[in-house]
């Protein structure tokens, strides 16, 4: 089908003798908001890197818009997990967003009014226009996330991949990022694939969930996937799904040590 932005068939990735991903099949369609949920080390980042073409697959096939991914492809925007930016880095917020347009090109470019307006509009859309002239290294984590989302979106991708954009954010920044993404996804029909170890902040906006555990995935609506039987099969041991005060906690029933690993993605009640 041509309206599939991404199609993974039976993808397996083996790194250093370890099976990082196993039999992963999924599709992503325009405008869909998909949560890529799972505990740390489950293979979320590897899955995103496979879609980006940064991680070769051992088995299976990856199709981007029905074919192999072309180099210099601007149809997928990417916001990596965390940036290590020195405060000395000579990039203002508006420079970072402008690099999203043509940072992959060689040679010089002349400044233009159209470009400046494009950058300024993008910053407004993510609610970051008030720090356009600040250096990227001076911003807080949540502010940097907004800027990197603007950087990724300015090349008008059809799919936006975000690796743990909500990690280490306070609740209000977290909600801010989620609502910006949900709004842009609806308005521009951009598909969003966002990884997180806690599904709760995404519950109101997720169309679909891709739950990753131990390198395997379960795909579907949250009601279909976040079930004790489904997740127990995924984790390979008994798992309870507890719904309390509108929040979902995934907890392993047996063994305190093991439970800790599983419960990590539940992040307890704040």
């Amino acid at each position: 089908m041509t309206d599939e932005l991404v199609r993974l068939d039976d993808v397996g990735v083996r790194l250093g003798g370890r099976e990082v991903l196993c039999d992963v099949s999924l599709t992503i369609r325009p405008g869909e908001f998909t949560g890529l949920i799972g505990p740390n080390g489950a293979g979320k980042t590897t899955l995103l890197r496979v879609i980006l073409g940064l991680q070769p697959v051992t088995t299976g096939s990856v199709l981007i818009q029905g074919g192999p991914r072309p180099p210099r492809d601007a149809s997928i925007g990417y916001v990596p997990q965390k940036l290590s930016i020195e405060p000395d880095m000579p990039l203002r917020v508006k420079d970072v967003v402008a690099l999203g347009i043509d940072g992959n090109k060689f040679g010089l470019r002349l400044p233009s009014r159209a470009r400046r307006e494009q950058v300024s509009d993008m910053l407004t859309a993510v609610g970051a226009q008030q720090y356009a002239d600040a250096r990227i290294g001076e911003l807080s984590g949540g502010e940097q996330q907004r800027v990197m989302i603007a950087h990724a979106l300015i090349s008008k991708p059809r799919l936006l991949l975000l690796d743990e954009p909500l990690a280490n954010l306070d609740i209000s920044s977290e909600q801010g990022i989620v609502s910006v993404l949900a709004r842009l996804a609806k308005a521009e029909r951009i598909a969003v694939l966002l990884s997180a170890h806690d599904m709760n902040p995404l519950m109101p906006v997720m169309d679909r969930i891709v739950y990753v555990a131990a390198g395997r995935v379960a795909v579907g609506s949250t009601d279909e996937v976040v079930q004790p039987e489904v997740l127990s099969r995924l984790y390979g041991r008994h798992v309870d799904v507890i719904r309390v005060h509108g929040r979902v906690l995934v907890v392993a029933a047996e063994g305190v040590d093991e439970a800790a690993a599983v419960a990590e993605d539940a992040t307890a009640v704040r």
């Binding site: 990596p80 000579p90 010089l108 008030q130 907004r146 801010g176």
Partner: protein, 299 residues
């Protein structure tokens, strides 16, 4: 020492050559330096300078112009560093330190043997601390060409270098050959270290590379302004250094000028300290809770 510009400064042939070559090299070093600092490769620059010292002294021993020694050893070291991926990764600093030590030890041997045989006692000083007033006219075209090549390389790579510094993964996902770009930059870095070595000496060459760039990064925010400001600071330091060195022939002890490299490095350091001590410009003031308010308001 009554004049700011001592008589004869503008009429002197060596001064003309020094000013022309110094200007081009200062600009190249400063621009390359901005990316060196941004990419966290100052230590790589320093390592290249140490190895260049070995090259320069080796060239002196076999009777070749030092610039070719600096260039050959610097470029060779850059290729080696790229091969083993040493320039950014931590944990390899011990190995690097040992290799650099060996390089400087070799330089000591070359310089000792060289001065023994040719009894030119100034050679060690020239290699370690530069000799902008005694540039051989025949090397001037090579110096200027190399400088312009390194400068052009970095200008052409500017955007991909910045994107790679921001995030190598984003750059790779956008089709930038990150590794090749890094290797090319390291070559440009080796060339500009060799060039600075010619004017202020192999040991001090990183001062001209990193100093103006670091100062500029304290003063201005954007990438283009940083490059222009760094180039301006570098050129100013070299010009003033040349002027003061010329003037110093008239200072005590009379008739024995002070070295250019002393003035250039001192000016660079003073500039950096002045920029560092200046009260930091406050970031753009943000209203409290700007994050959430902006997010929820319609566009």
């Amino acid at each position: 020492m009554g004049h700011i510009v001592e008589p004869g400064f503008f009429a002197s042939g060596p001064v003309h050559i020094a000013l022309a070559v110094g200007t081009v090299i200062a600009i190249t070093s400063a621009v390359v330096g901005v990316f060196t600092v941004t990419r966290g490769q100052s230590f790589a620059g320093h390592s290249l300078a140490d190895i260049a010292t070995t090259g320069g002294s080796g060239a002196f021993l076999v009777g070749v112009n030092q610039f070719w020694g600096y260039l050959a050893f610097g470029a060779g070291a850059a290729a080696f560093m790229e091969m083993i991926g040493v320039q950014r990764r931590q944990g390899r600093d011990v190995a690097t330190g040992v290799v650099l030590g060996a390089g400087l030890g070799l330089a000591a041997l070359f310089l000792y043997l060289g001065t023994e045989y040719s009894s030119t006692t100034g050679a060690s000083f020239t290699i370690l601390f530069g000799s902008i007033f005694v540039l051989t006219a025949s090397t001037v075209p090579a110096l200027i060409t190399s400088a312009l090549l390194a400068l052009a390389t970095v200008v052409v790579l500017a955007r991909v270098l910045l994107l790679s510094s921001l995030s190598p993964d984003i750059a790779a996902a956008r089709g930038v050959p990150v590794r090749a770009v890094g290797a090319l930059f390291l070559m440009a870095l080796a060339v500009s270290v060799a060039l600075s070595a010619v004017i202020i000496g192999a040991v001090l060459s990183t001062a001209l590379l990193v100093g103006p760039a670091a100062t500029a990064l304290r003063l201005v925010k954007g990438p283009v302004r940083a490059m222009v400001t760094a180039a301006g600071i570098g050129v100013l330091a070299v010009w003033l250094g040349i002027l003061l060195a010329y003037d110093s022939y008239y200072w005590p002890p009379a008739g024995r000028g002070w070295p250019v490299s002393f003035f250039v490095v001192t000016l660079v350091v003073v500039g950096y300290l002045a920029a560092d001590l200046r009260p930091q410009a406050r970031r753009v003031a943000l209203p409290q809770n700007a994050d959430t308010e902006q997010a929820c308001s319609p566009v």
